[in-house]
Structure formats: C-alpha cells, structure tokens
Amino acid sequence: MMYNFAIDPLLTGKVLWTPLLIVLLKVVVVFAVGLVATMLMVWFERKVIAGMQNRIGPNKAGPFGILQTLADGIKLFFKEDLIPERSDRFVFKLAPYLAFVPAFLTFAIIPLGGDFRGDNDGLVTWFGQQTRVQLADPPIGILFALAISSIAIYGIMLAGWSSGSKYPLLGSVRASAQMVSYEAALGLSVAAVVLVSGTLSTSGIVARQSSLGNWNVIVTGIVPFFIFMIAATAELNRPPFDLVEAEQELVGGFNTEYASLRFALFYLAEFMNTVTMSALIVTLFFGGPQPISVGSLTVDIPIIGNAFEGTIWLLLKVLVFLYIYVWFRATLPRFRYDQLMDLGWKVLIPASLGWFILLAAQRVGQDAGWDRYVVTIATVLILLVCYSLLALAQRTSENERKRDGVMF
C-alpha cells in the first residue's frame, strides 16, 4: 500500500536514504527556525512597543538586547516549578504541551521559500532531489492549519480549568467561546481563498499568486483578508481580543497559576502562534515567497539565488504583519466579552458568508457563461435582502431583551 501523505516529488517512489535525510533535516530546520523566530518576535515586540511608548525596551542582553528572550527563558527554566494544591495535576501538566505543540505544527505546511517564478512551481533541487522548501505539503494543506488552530484551544482551556482557581477558569471559559466563534469566520474567509485558487494545498495557493494582480488579497476582493486578519487576531488572543488574559480583569488569565517552564511554554506558544499566523496570512493572501511583480516586471533581489530569495520575500512580508500585530497591541483598548461575540457572530460570520456566496456566484456565472454584471447585481440584491432580514431579526431580539430586562 502506498502512502501519499504529500504531493512533494521527494516522497513519491521508494523510501531512500537521501530523501529521508532531507526530511529529517527539514524537521530540524523548521523547529529551529520556529524557536529562533519566536525568540526574535518577543524581542521585536518589546523593542517596537517600547519605541511607541517613549521607552528604550530591552537593551542589556546582547546587541540591542536581542538575547533578552534567551535570558528570560533561562531564568524561567531555573524557577521553581509550582503546582497548585487544588489543581488537577495530570491535566495541569499536560496543558502547556497542548498549547505548545500545535503552535509548531502549523509551521510545517507553510512554504518557507523556493522559486515560484515561471514554471518552477516552487521546486528546488537539494542533493540531487527535487523538493519543496516546506516541511510537508499535504493535499489538504490549509485544512490542516485550520484543524491545528482548532486544537490549540485545548491548551488554554484545560490550563484554566485545571488550575483550580477562579480567574483562570473565567479566562478559559472565555477562551473556548471566543475561539470556537472566530473559527467559523476564519474558515469561511479561507474558503474564499480556496475557491479562487481551486486547491487546498498551500504550495498550490502560493503558486497561483504569481503577480501583484493575482494576489489573493485582490482576487478575493480584500474583504476575506480583513475578516481573516480580525479573526486571526481573535484566534491568537492578541489585543484588542486578549480577553483570555485580560490583566486588569482576570489577573493573568488562564496562565495565572503557571510558573517556571510551563509558563514559558505558554508564552512561547503565544508568540509562535503570532509568527505562524502572520506567515499563514502571507501565504494565503500575499503570495508567500513569491516576489513582488507587476505584469512582466519583477522586483528581483540581485546576487541572491532565486530559491533563497523566496525566503527573504516571505520574511519581509511576515515582518509587516508582525509589526501590525505589535501596533495593535500598542494602540487598541480591549473589547468586552459580549462585544467580541457580537462582532464575531453578527458582523464577521455573515460578512464572510455573504462574500463567499458572492464569489461563488461569480464563479458559477463564469462557468455557465452568464453575464457578469447581471450575476453580481442579482447576488448583491439577494444578499441585501438576507442582510435586512438578519438585521430585522437582531432588532427584534434586542427589543425583546430590553423588554425582559436580560442581557443575553
């Protein structure tokens, strides 16, 4: 029986030593890159946010304080490992790993480089073997990312519950509700991307975004990107959606009772997730490792080989989004729990669903050869009717709630 985990040409055919070694090498490299990226992300965030707040930020450990995270990590490593008496010991110990492992798993499917120009299709030749610069390229690629992000809830949820304390419990209850609600909006905006790319594989999605006009952010009409960005911020529990660890309300949120290395794992997972999510946004909407090109004009970085250039492009694009996340944190106040739910269920999900239907109708119209404008206008009209029905329903329920004097 043949196992076709990936459509990577490296893995077709018999099991040989060179491909196996290449895969192992990739695993090690991806893990190392993930760790280093997280370390730098923590430093980056602290430094940038310090700049925004008239502070200096870390500047003692290493040049520009770049080793600060390492120092913090070492400190946490040697701290006493506390387990609260009332905690559920097994789950309490398990939870950090449940948060940490998914954070790294998503990194496996992100195309980290390679040359997608012309007919290259992102393939590179290493040690005489053709392969992709990504750990795995399963045919369900992007669904894998969604699956992993839905697993990531467990770490936070169980951490809060198993601590046997009230603030973490409140944090974890919020977390589970928040992440389940935003998963839907996230999935629907990914569906729009899948619809226009016609494939679920991440490398396939990247390969179809060859020039600036082909980037999914433009092809899908920018709305799914915004929805994905907002929903991703909520998934990451970053400001303005950081209710899970709202310091002023819930002390430390779900990780209040954690100390030492277990806390470090949560901390690492959080920043790792930020890096992965930024990389995912770039992959889905901004062409991943593709260089910026308009028509036949391509911005080429001289000297560096095309295959490695992809990595640089990816890095640059990811940096933009990391900066945006830091910017959010420095700027925005936090939403309230019910406002967050309102935004998720009443705005993001209907909007992403409506936009998805619009795109799907365009697609069907294109296949059937209908007039494009007629299709668009008809869909928009139908969606408007649906939206007004929804708004009516919402208003009725609001009035009823007011009459009953209840908040839910």
């Binding site: 709202a246 106040p333 729990y337």
Partner: protein, 390 residues
C-alpha cells in the same frame, strides 16, 4: 422583591464562606469572585466581593480598610504644623491639595489669612497637583481598558508637572510646603516661565489623549452607557467632584464657596456632562485638566509681589473652637473638621475624603454589569486607596 432579598442574603453568606477559603466553588447558581485586595485593577488594596452569575454581577460589596493608617487618630498626637506631613499621604497623587484645607481650617480658627502672593502660589500648586493627579488618571484609564500606551504618555507629561512641584517645594510627591499663615518659601527664579511652557505641554497631552483614547471606537463602546449614575442617585450617595459633575450637577467648591484662595480672580469654566456614564466621568476630568492649565497660566501672569508669610507666633497654638473647611480636590470634595481646645495640636480631626464617598455607590452601580465593566466603572469613578482608607 422578597426573593431578591433572600438571594442577597444567600450570596452574602456564600461570600463570607469564601473569605475563609478562596476556592473554586462553581455552581450553576454562580460564584463568588474576590477581586482584590491584590489585583491589578484595584489600584492598591481595595477588595471587591462580587457574586457572579456567569459573567454578570449579581451582588457586590466593596471591602475597604486594608490600608487604613489611622490618620484621624494620629493627628491628635501631632502639633498643627506636623499634621501636614501626615495628610500629604491621603491622596498621594495630588498631595499638596490635601494640605490646603487643613491649613485653611487652622487659619480660620486662628483668624489669620495668608498674604495675597501666598494665596496665589497655593492655588497654583493646588492646580498643579490636580493636573499631576488627573493626567495620570487619563493614562491609567487606557491601561484599565487594555490600551497600554496612554499611561506612558501620562507618566512622561506628569513628570514635567512633578518637576515643577519639586522645583518650588523640594518634594516631588509629598511637598509638605503649606504653612499656617502662608508658605514655607517663595518661588525659585525662572519657575514661572517654566510653568508656562509646561502648561502648553500638558494641553498638548490632553489633545493627544482625546485623539488617541477618547476618539477610539472601542474605548467609546466600552465606556458609553456603562455605569450610568443618574443625577439624583449621585446626590443621594454623596458623590462629589468630577463624578458628580458628570451626572449633570453643576457643583464645584472652587467656585461655589469663598475661600482665601485665588480661584475667584481668574476666568475658568466648570464642565458638566448630562450622561452620567463612565465616558462622561472621564471626559469631565479631561476638561478639568485643560481648565486647570488655564487657571495656572492666568495666575502665573497675575501673581502679585509681596511676602509669602504673615506674622504668626513661633509656637502655634490654635484657639479653642471648631472649624470645617472643604475644597474641591482632584478626587472631589475633601474637608477637615478640626476641633481645637487651644493646645499645640488638634483635639479631634474628622477627615472627609472624596474617594470614600465616591466608592460607596459601587454596590448600587455594579449590580448587573459584566465582569470587565467592573474594571471600567471602578477606573472611571477614580479612587485612590489612600483616599479611601485614611
């Protein structure tokens, strides 16, 4: 009605049980959450016992006294000039303003009045401490809502004001500068010019905060319509200061009573807001900082020359009698009822501090709100722990 009473009693018993063992006792009925005494949102050691149903507050009891220092009793074993060093620490962010009403009360009993220049300087320092206090509030407001940047801007600009206070009095936080009959010293050279520039900076800070925080959609949705205190309720609970003015009551002791201070000599406005919600309270405070900068600027321009100290005996003995003096402090009405029996120190002093009364509304106000709103409302009520527990 009766059911609610029972429920209140039940939740009270449950919260008492939770005192002994702060533990997880989550039932379908709800749970008791102890917010504080050590909690990031309580500015110190206020404890809020909240009975929750889901994330909604059913019943709440503020429990204060964790930082009680017994100042009223301590004043009885101090001489009059020594008391100012104590009362400095009541509202520690606007400490000079705490000294003034006590000194005024003592002066009233002695029948003396500070020279005109001293009155001007007192008013300037009073308003500077208000600016220092409320500008930190404006920054802290952001932190309570999860926006961390404004507080750093507040610290940056408050520093200028603290430098001014330090330049004039020698103390940044606790000046202990006010004396019966005047002030300890005159202003240093060049201080007035520096004050003018700092006031411009502070007005720019107010504009920044208004843009960045008050203009933010999330901020508005978190504060507008949240924690509404109607006019009559505010009056019933004895609220004062910006909390009262935000409920639409046009009441300001600086304007409404005549004290030997310089407020009546300058042109300024008392701001009120009709809404009574958290946003209104914050907005009124923002406007007050602006007005304070205007007051300071005008006083700096019109400050008269002359001595800063009248003739007082070397050993101050206050004649027998009782006096009540209150002023409009940064947090609200603050007053001292001083009873003297003709000794070196007061026989009895009753301190009326603003935060204690302002906090007393919380059981009424927090009923039915969400847990995150507890934080917003407490932040907008703006209390300082030292001002609650004296």
């Amino acid at each position: 009605m009766t059911l609610l009473g029972d429920r209140q009693q039940l939740s009270y018993i449950a919260s008492q049980a939770a005192d002994a063992r702060v533990n997880l006792e989550l039932e379908t009925e709800g749970m008791t959450l102890n917010i504080g005494p050590q909690h990031p949102a309580t500015h110190g050691t206020l404890r809020i016992i909240a009975r929750l149903d889901g994330e909604q507050v059913v019943w709440v009891d503020p429990s204060c006294g964790y930082m009680h220092r017994g100042y009223e009793k301590l004043t009885e074993v101090r001489t009059y000039p020594q008391v100012t060093a104590l009362v400095n620490r009541i509202d520690w962010l606007g400490s000079f303003a705490n000294e003034v009403p006590f000194i005024l009360a003592a002066e009233k009993l002695m029948g003396i009045e500070a020279p005109l220049r001293a009155q001007h300087i007192r008013t300037i320092l009073f308003e500077l401490s208000r600016i220092a206090n409320v500008s930190l509030f404006l920054g802290d407001l952001g932190v309570q809502l999860g926006a961390i940047t404004p507080v750093f801007m507040a610290f940056r600009d408050r520093e200028y004001v603290l430098n001014l206070i330090e330049g004039a009095t020698g103390g940044r936080f606790h000046p202990n500068f006010d004396r019966i009959g005047g002030l300890k010293d005159d202003l240093p050279a060049g201080w007035l010019d520096e004050t003018r520039t700092v006031m411009k900076k502070l007005r720019r800070f107010c504009d920044e905060i208004e843009d960045l925080l008050f203009g933010n959609e999330i901020f508005q949705s978190r504060t507008r319509g949240i924690g509404v205190i109607p006019r009559d309720i505010a009056l019933q609970y004895g609220m004062s200061g910006a909390n009262l003015r935000a409920s639409g009551v046009d009441w300001d002791l600086r304007r409404d009573q005549s004290l030997p201070m310089a407020w009546d000599k300058v042109d300024w406005k008392v701001w009120t807001h009709p809404d009574g919600d958290s946003f209104a309270r914050c907005w009124v405070r923002l406007q007050e900082v602006r007005e304070s900068t205007r007051i300071v600027e005008q006083l700096v321009d019109t400050i008269p020359a002359g001595p800063v100290m009248t003739k007082v005996p070397r050993i101050i003995k206050v004649p027998e009698g009782e006096a009540w003096v209150c002023t409009e402090n940064p947090l609200g009405e603050m007053g001292y009822y001083v009873v003297s029996q003709g000794d070196l120190g007061p026989f009895r002093v009753k301190i009326r501090s603003a935060s204690f009364n302002n906090m007393s509304i919380t059981p009424w106000l927090l009923k039915g709100v969400y847990v995150p709103d507890i934080v917003t409302i407490l932040a907008s009520l703006y209390f300082i722990l030292g001002d609650i527990d004296r």
